[in-house]
Symmetry: C2
Subunit: 598 residues, 2 copies
């Protein structure tokens, strides 16, 4: 008798699982229930169809129900909700949302891939008809209809992946856009100083960015929604997008008596089995193992969902495969910048009480002598003893995704930072440097581990007038004149060997340059003379981001801003004239040529 | 008393070593000898200044002699040749090439970083005044002068990195360009079928490509050089570039009685010490350990040279650090394509008699539903037992360098292909896919290791009329009509479950589709019915490259071609209108959406 597999949810994890199951068992009966109209649609592409960068709606439906059915011999039931699981009898209760018909289906194994729903904060007026969330094609259609109908302004609540992607795409359509975020930074998974460089970019693109403020209500003004902030400010707009995070869809599991965590996520074992051995769960609805720090985490990302779908089926069909967890590798484009992360953030390390060291590197994505080099900042966290990599974050232009993938691979392999020194990465002038930013991060981290370099962090320093440090700037006079840490003393590196005795020694010495390279050389010279200088990690670039003021925001002027930024829409976002290069994030550094020295 | 370090050669390895030595020892006396005029110049950028993409010559001199001297307190002697080493007395004999003055300097330690010289094949007429090689700024100036003076045509002899980069840059300047290569393919480090997709690209850009032919002489015709080929053909041009490889500059070492290998490279131990414990050697002049296959190899690349310079100094200054060898990670842009490699090639594996398996993957660099997706072909080689990765090669458009770096990291970490399945790489629509090409390569390779998928390779097959195989095409009828393996039988995947009995079973069955994915699904169906089909690895895409005829080349018409291709120069090479996307390399495949299934 053929085996009967039921799958609840037909997007990332569910559809992968169905296809995998068919490959492993040609005879199995596979029924996939999906509440929505579409299976296997490209949910990561939704904001870009609103913005027009993905012009064809059809492109988002890469696989149709018919195509999938034929290829994998599936029984796909869209617009069908699974309302109840009878674990005793191994039945699910389903309801056809079109006809209202209710029925049951028996299973041998059940896979839950219900996903997560946009969280809707319980504030008055949140049910206003112009308030949208974005999860599926229908939600996208609703937003796009409003924009096509001539919406001139939007307030996006929440500055995570979806919030920022929506903000970018609505700007692309010429709308005035406000972004409201409860935290004092965008992109909550990133550390504050990394997110800080995104703030400038967002504001530069005409977004009215409101950080560290709560939405208290949505009022109505002649049919238009007005977002009320804790500060008393009110932002009116033609539409509101709520993107404040997602909530695991675990009601079905909970009602069936399956174990659900305090976070609301379904609890699974290392084989992705729920507390019922015949029921597996995958995707945004579950908690997964944190392979770096231990414990569990919610990682609602497409890559892990896919992998889990495959692995759950492998186990189910007699090839037990443990899922080792998700390290949370992610990337997002924010106008002209790219931000990416893998592993633990510094804030998580602090929260978890994990001992760590950190370094910063600012480097071009390829050699500076080849045109088009774009600067990135790379932050690397690792253990003090053995230098095991704990996490990395990068923000910049081109090539950010490459470096985060290399670091994600290094973390996966358990490499220590000392191995990053030795990685042999590809180099030609268009693609990188003989010493890649990842190698450089390895050098700096290894210097730290070996005691060749001691750092002081910008957050431990005020300026030179309010600190217990003598702050030494070793750049040249022109750079010093153009901008410096207040109260810093200037002795250029090239004069340091003759002039080191000028440096006041009544306080400990903190040395900096643009990005931390020349200051490292300087500390080596000073150490030789018996001083104990510290290098300001990441130089002036990182210092400026750590001490960045909240970005200046122009008054909320829905119609005005829209007109101004139409230029941007025309030029195109991908490298258009109004996208400043990543080099703009940060200050310059006359690094050594990559074909040569270091 | 301070230690005395002498360095011979001031470019990649030498300059890195000098800077590193200063950081480790503020007091050491460091003298660096360089025969040329410039130290630490960007040798990888030379072709691009000829072509104009790097417009400023100064940009190539990222560090000046004065700057380096000041920063690192070095004694740099350019235009100075070291003519002899007296190991007994620990002296080098130097000659100032400007004044002719000869003198000696004592050393405590000596580092040799002499590099490698362009090999000049010993054919009659090779000393023609219009024949150039490219190693340093002066060579570049000579070529650029000839082009600026109105050269209309060039013959490039040798189709490796420098040969192809020069061909591209000379085309960019509007010259008619012929490339002559002894081997039947360009880029000798690549395997033939990977190089084959470059052939189309090169020919498309108007290059007269002559593969598998030897230059026998260079004649003179009214002052212009004429390259004579074995075939009897003669290619006249305004200039000739010889780029047929490099020869280690080991005469100094050999004359000093240091051990030199049969290859001409200086022999060093794992600490980069020559046979004299006070003399180290780094860079293009040495042989290094092959970390993958064992034994030694010559890897004349900038990244390894830099790393070796650092490591030799570390050992010399009391921090013994073994150099673990170079896996030969490299990348090159060839007009609109990128080709990259890491680890062993298939031809090297064959030559060394190493057992291996291989798979091919054809995937877009980011999800297909986001505009601008560019196809790449990824070839992965690994051991049959434990799946250890031996090597990878990729050719395509954007994102090739990223995947080779991830694979280079995986090789460095000793990961097996089964771990490539589990790598958690970054994904957003602009950057990749929920299942990255590297993950897919891992899936396919792991399928093979686990026996879920059995391959037959294009080189083992003729067409369906000349083979012992029944060749089954499982694409749809329109695809089949547009191009297929001769004699193939068509049964689309979507009809296979009903029609599998139509397939002739008198011969073994080889199944294919565009890239090998649908055919894999098909083999799963057929296996269920007791058949033992094999999947044609890499589908029709790889088949076509393996069986690619030599590209059709128009007659050598120096002036004519130059005129025609001016369009290309105007449009700009980087994504201009005449650069066909990498998608053109290969056929299409309706892959599953990456947000969803697989």
């Amino acid at each position: 008798m053929s085996r009967r597999l039921l799958i609840v949810g037909g997007v990332a994890g569910g559809a992968t699982a169905a296809a995998r199951a068919r490959r492993l068992d040609e005879q199995a009966e596979i029924i996939m229930f999906e509440r929505g109209r579409d299976v296997s649609f490209a949910n990561c592409g939704l904001p870009y169809h609103v913005g027009g960068e993905i012009s064809s709606r059809r492109a988002l439906l890469v696989q149709t129900k018919v195509g999938l059915t034929r290829r994998f011999n599936l029984d796909i039931r869209t617009r069908t909700e699974v309302t109840r699981i009878d674990r005793e009898k191994k039945l699910v209760h389903a309801r056809d949302l079109e006809s209202g018909r209710e029925y049951t289906e028996h299973y041998d194994d059940l896979l839950l891939s219900p996903g997560a729903a946009p969280f809707v904060p319980p504030v008055p007026g949140v049910d206003h008809s112009a308030v949208h969330t974005l999860r599926n094609m229908g939600d996208m259609d609703g937003i796009k209809r409003a924009v096509d109908a001539g919406a001139k302004s939007a307030v996006v609540v929440g500055a995570g992946f979806i919030g920022l992607e929506m903000a970018e795409n609505l700007r692309r359509r010429g709308l005035a856009v406000a972004v409201v975020e409860l935290l004092p930074q965008v992109m909550p998974p990133l550390d504050a100083e990394v997110a800080a460089s995104l703030h400038q970019e967002i504001v530069k693109h005409g977004v009215h960015l409101r950080l560290g403020t709560r939405m208290t209500a949505i009022e109505d003004s002649d049919g238009r929604p007005v977002v009320c902030l804790e500060s008393g400010d009110k932002l009116d707009a033609d539409l509101v997008i709520l993107a404040v995070g997602v909530r695991p869809e675990s009601d079905l599991a909970r009602d069936a008596g399956l174990e659900v965590a305090a976070s609301g996520a379904i609890v699974v074992d290392e084989y992705l089995r729920t507390s019922d051995p015949h029921i597996y769960a995958v995707g945004d609805a579950i908690e997964v193992r944190d392979p770096i720090l231990g414990g569990t985490a919610r990682i609602p990302l497409a890559g892990p969902a896919n992998r889990q779908g495959r692995i759950a089926i492998d186990t189910m069909f007699g090839r037990p495969t443990p899922y080792r967890g998700a390290q949370g590798t992610s990337v997002v484009r924010v106008f002209g910048l790219t931000a990416a992360a893998t592993g633990a953030s510094e804030k998580v390390l602090k929260r978890r009480g994990v001992e760590y060291l950190k370094v910063y590197v600012h480097r071009d994505h390829h050699v500076g002598y080849f045109p088009g080099a774009q600067r990135m900042m790379l932050k690397l966290m690792f253990t003090p003893g053995d230098g095991r990599i704990l996490g990395a974050q990068i923000v910049g232009g081109d090539g950010v995704d490459k470096r985060i993938d290399v670091l994600a691979t290094a973390i996966h392999a358990g490499l220590p930072v000392t191995e990053l020194e030795a990685l042999e990465l590809s180099y030609a002038p268009q693609y990188g440097a003989a010493k890649d930013p990842v190698n450089i991060a390895g050098y700096v981290a290894a210097n730290m581990l070996r005691g060749d370099e001691e750092f002081v962090y910008a957050e431990e320093l005020g300026d030179g007038q309010l600190t217990n440090w003598t702050i030494l700037d070793v750049r040249d006079a022109a750079e010093f004149a153009a901008g410096r840490i207040l109260g810093a003393v200037l002795v250029p590196l090239s004069e340091l060997r003759e002039r080191w005795q000028e440096i006041p020694t009544d306080k400990p010495i903190a040395v900096y340059c643009g990005v931390g390279q020349r200051s490292y050389y300087a500390t080596r010279v000073l150490r030789h003379h018996g001083l104990k200088p510290r290098n300001i990690a990441g130089g002036l670039c990182t210092y400026q981001l750590v001490h960045a003021p909240q970005p200046t925001v122009r008054p909320w002027a829905p119609r005005e801003a829209a007109a101004e930024e139409a230029v941007c829409g025309n030029a195109g976002l991908a490298g258009g004239g109004c996208v400043e290069s990543a080099g703009g994030v940060c200050c310059s550094e006359d690094t050594l040529p990559d074909c040569s020295t270091g």
